[in-house]
């Protein structure tokens, strides 16, 4: 996007960004997310799934893992945990919410994002780096990237096959809400979709794990641009840029 102000809006963040990482029973990527933000000099905090108040936070992360054992369907039980009511309110107030992997599944089950994640085509668990393209830079999660930029980020999932109806796909396309697409579709996702945005553009769900691509010693640094975008988006507000 060039010119004009971004279409998303954020609530005011007049201090160092505060990041909440929601920990469900069975989450297993919360430490990776904490470390990834630490790489950017941002201290993140764990919030237990019983929390009912996310006041004071600027960013909420739903990390990967197997929340509540992923019984019934991935993310289905977590969607009804006490903290999700708070996440709903936080998102409605314009707070940044990113769901990664299991977090994406939870956001879909919660209705905060459209669509659903099915078993991978081929019914294999896939754990390897993949290349995704940035499909829109008009979001607080991708504003520091270049449109079409290729990012190598690991995926690690069994149910990452994004499904949405043709009508919803048309809507997501028209509203520029497809954040990332796989360069080489690994799991059968509709339209190669790897990440989608909410209508308000302040909620992102993505299957790849940006927090596992922030350190050149282990897996490269292509994921940093996503975390950087979020922190920069909040910082711009703080400095009164917009």
């Amino acid at each position: 996007m060039t010119g004009g102000s971004p279409s998303w809006t954020l609530r005011n963040a007049p201090r160092a960004p505060r990041v909440a990482i929601v920990v469900f029973p069975g989450s297993n990527c919360e430490q990776d997310v904490l470390q990834a933000f630490a790489c950017l000099g941002v201290r993140a905090e764990y919030v237990w799934h019983h929390a009912t108040d996310l006041g004071g936070f600027d960013i909420v992360v739903l990390p990967g893992g197997f929340s509540y054992g992923d019984y019934l369907r991935t993310g289905a039980i977590a969607a009804f945990s006490p903290v999700m009511e708070a996440v709903r309110g936080f998102a409605a107030a314009g707070g940044l919410v990113i769901g990664i992997c299991n977090g994406f599944q939870i956001l879909c089950e919660s209705g905060l994002l459209p669509g659903a994640l099915r078993w991978n085509a081929g019914l294999k668990f896939i754990c390897r780096p993949v290349t995704v393209r940035v499909e829109t830079t008009d979001s607080p999660f991708t504003s520091a990237a270049v449109g079409g930029q290729a990012l190598e980020i690991p995926i690690n999932h069994f149910q990452g096959n994004f499904y949405c109806s043709p009508a919803l796909l048309d809507q997501l396309t028209a509203e520029d809400r497809i954040a990332f697409r796989y360069a080489d579709n690994p799991n059968g996702s509709v339209s190669d979709i790897a990440g989608v945005l909410s209508a308000g553009r302040n909620v992102l769900g993505m299957m790849p794990h940006p927090e596992r691509a922030v350190d050149p010693a282990v897996g490269g640094t292509d994921g940093r641009v996503i975390l950087d975008s979020m922190v920069t988006a909040l910082g711009s507000l703080r400095a009164g840029v917009r």
């Binding site: 019934l72 289905a76 009804f80 879909c108 659903a116 099915r118 949405c164």
Partner: protein
């Protein structure tokens, strides 16, 4: 290959219609994901008597 789930629920309700309504609501909200799943509800014969 299609795989499904069979979920058996014991529902306390005054009649079969009410029981079915309760179960359908649970299916829509939780037991099934209507985005990717379909469901059917069958009411079995009532068991037991009035709740103690």
């Amino acid at each position: 290959v299609r795989v499904g789930k069979r979920i058996e629920l014991a529902v306390e309700a005054p009649d079969a219609e009410t029981a079915e309504a309760i179960v359908r609501a649970a299916c829509v909200r939780f037991l099934a994901n209507p985005v990717i799943e379909e469901f059917q509800v069958h009411i079995a014969e009532p068991v037991g008597g009035p709740a103690a």
